[in-house]
Each structure stands twice: as structure tokens, then as C-alpha cells.
Symmetry: C2
Subunit: 210 residues, 2 copies
């Protein structure tokens, strides 16, 4: 699992003067452009123009548009990096692997702080909700649905997302008891069968009205 | 199901002049006192003092502290009013009844607007999160856990809450597709088994670490 934080890298010792300023300018421009245009329509060209830097510097500092978004929004890690490890392996334990990863991430204070920050921002700022929606659809739900293969793959990926965001809200943001303080293992065990069914199990008595 | 909106009542025709002003003053004082002291420690006496009215007027306009909170926060209905109907009846279809109610509520624009407003506010304002947490624990999770009887009743009630708040976030606030536009029946069918298991089914391979 890759969970490198992006922002602190700019503050490592030994870099040339000015590097950190450029990186921060790109991040600020990216935040502005993603908020204004959404994830899909924001372009690296537009972000470079907004930051007043050569577009090649974005690739140098961040790599892809996906990675730049992860850094600009403060996501705790790049979902695209961890998806393959979740999807690979025994399909019958995919819910367990996903629940274990989720709980592992949420137990790390810095990652937990960032993820709750993103959820809070998405709840209160429509433009954050929009860019997160576009990012998740393109980089997470899309690939997951492709893996699942079934016609209802996107709906299944959304259902998984609903339980994950709900767990973040209930355990960390609203902090209802005893969920807020119960052991990570107990949370993972309780939630894993839900994720498993949403991904690969039956979704209802039939497919009426869908 | 009782889903009377509380606020619009104050604007009905035919009331005495001044009534609406008193009601609004109580609501404003309640909002302030619940935010400052939380649900548990805020008192009707303190709210009456803050509003500069006789405490009996609160009972006249709103009834109980619970009902006053529902009105002040803008909850779409009093959860305490609907809980008995959910808990009564065949235990094997409790998840179905709860999912059907949830979807019915969320399909009504005014109720949906209010519920998403509460979720947004809880996500972005710690004092709203606190009073909602205290209210839900005392008026919803507590009674639900008592009904469930089992030692892990409160945890089970919390898990149900996590899926419900997650559905509100994913379908309405972040509005991921196709979940945002899929039929209410399909959503209810997909979520019902999750609520059923959280309430009455197995929570994990064992109870380790809980």
C-alpha cells in the first residue's frame, strides 16, 4: 500500500531554494482550477498557466493529473495506487481486504486527519463535492466497475463508497459511541461482509426499476 | 410515519400577532443553547431565559426538549416518532422496513433538503456534530439498543447510522453516479440486507477485541 503524504515532501531538507515555492504555487493553482472546472475539465495546461510555470514542472513534481489532484485536495493516499492490491486475490475475501485497508488507514492519525478533512470539505463545499465526485468516478469507481465486469458494477462501487464515507462520518466526524472508540478489528469485521456483498453478492430480491 | 415539518407552522395564517415572534425567539435561543451546551446539558429553563419567555411557552409551542431539538436543528422528522413502527413487526424484515422508510423520506424534496442540511452542518461544524451525537445517542441509539437487547446493541445501532449517513452523503451530498439517480426501490433493496445484518445478524467471525 502506498501512503506517501505529498505535501511534506516539499519541506524536505537539501532542495534548491525556490523549489518549494514553485511546488506550492502549482498546488494552489491546481486547487483553484479543480474547484472552478471540476476534475474532468481542469487541464494541466490551465493549471500551469494559472501557476505561471512550465507545464513540464507539474510532471516533474507530481507526475499525473491524478497524482496532482491527490496532493492538491490532501487525500491521504492515491486510491488508484491501492486498488489493484484490493482487487487482486481471492474474490471471496475482497470485502475483508478492503475493510482491513480502510481501518488501517483510519488508524493513522495523519491519514485520518486528512480523510476526515476531505469528507468535511465535500459535505460543506459544493465545488469540493463536485471535484471529488468526478475524481472518484474516473479514477476509482470506473476501474472498480471494469474489474467487476457486471452491468451494475458502477452502482456496486457507489454502494461501497457510501458505506466507507458513512463510516468516516459516524466514527470520526460525528463520533457516535461506541463506534468511535471500538477496536479497528471489530469495525473491520462488522463492515467487511457489507463491502463483500456490495461488490460481488446479491443486491436485492430482483433488479426491478433499476 | 410522522413527518410534520415544524418551522412552516409558525407562518400559518390566522395566528395572533406576536406568536410567530415568540416561537422564532425560542427556536433561536434553543439553537444557541444546544450548540453551546450540547443536547444533554442544555435545559428548557436555560433556553427560556435566553429567549426571555416563560418556560411554559416552550411546552406550549414544542412539547418536549426532544421535539424542540428536532425543530431547532431542522431535522426532517422526530426519529423518536418513527422508531416504534420500525421496531414493531417481523424481525426478519426490519432492515426492509428501515430502508423503505429512509428512501421514502429522502425522496421528499423538503425532507431531503433538511436531512442533507443537517448532515452538511454536522460535517463542518463541531458543535452541530456534538449536539447531533448526543441527541441520536439518547433518543435513537439508546432506545434501539434497548429493543435489540444484546450487549452489542449500541454498536449495532451505530453501524446502522453509519450506512444511513453514508447513503445521504453519497447519494445526495457528493451525488456519485449512478447512485444519485438510481430508483429508490433499487437503493432500498441493496441497502436493506446491510441494515438487517447490522441490527440482528452476525457482526463478524467472532467478537475479538471488542
Amino acid at each position: 500500500m502506498s501512503t506517501r503524504p505529498e505535501r511534506p515532501a516539499a519541506r524536505r531538507a537539501g532542495r534548491r531554494p525556490g523549489t518549494s515555492g514553485t511546488r506550492e504555487a502549482i498546488l494552489a493553482a491546481a486547487g483553484q482550477q479543480f474547484a472552478e472546472h471540476g476534475y474532468d475539465r481542469a487541464s494541466l495546461r490551465g493549471i500551469a498557466a494559472e501557476a505561471g510555470v512550465d507545464q513540464k514542472l507539474i510532471a516533474h513534481f507530481f507526475g499525473s493529473k491524478q497524482q496532482l489532484f491527490v496532493a492538491a485536495v490532501g487525500l491521504p493516499f492515491n486510491p488508484g495506487d491501492v486498488l489493484p492490491a484490493i482487487l487482486a486475490g481471492d474474490p471471496d475475501s475482497i470485502g475483508e481486504r478492503l475493510a482491513a485497508l480502510l481501518v488501517e488507514v483510519l488508524e493513522q492519525p495523519e491519514l485520518h486527519r486528512r480523510l476526515t478533512g476531505v469528507v468535511r470539505a465535500a459535505a460543506s463545499e459544493p465545488e469540493v463535492a463536485r471535484m471529488l465526485r468526478e475524481f472518484l468516478t474516473r479514477e476509482l469507481f470506473g476501474p472498480a466497475a471494469e474489474f467487476l465486469g457486471a452491468e451494475d458494477g458502477p452502482f456496486r462501487a457507489n454502494l461501497v463508497g457510501s458505506q466507507i464515507v458513512g463510516l468516516v462520518m459516524a466514527r470520526y466526524v460525528i463520533a457516535i459511541e461506541p463506534l468511535a472508540t471500538i477496536s479497528p478489528n471489530a469495525v473491520a469485521a462488522a463492515v467487511a461482509p457489507t463491502l463483500q456483498r456490495y461488490l460481488l453478492g446479491p443486491l436485492g430480491p430482483d433488479d426491478r426499476d433499476r
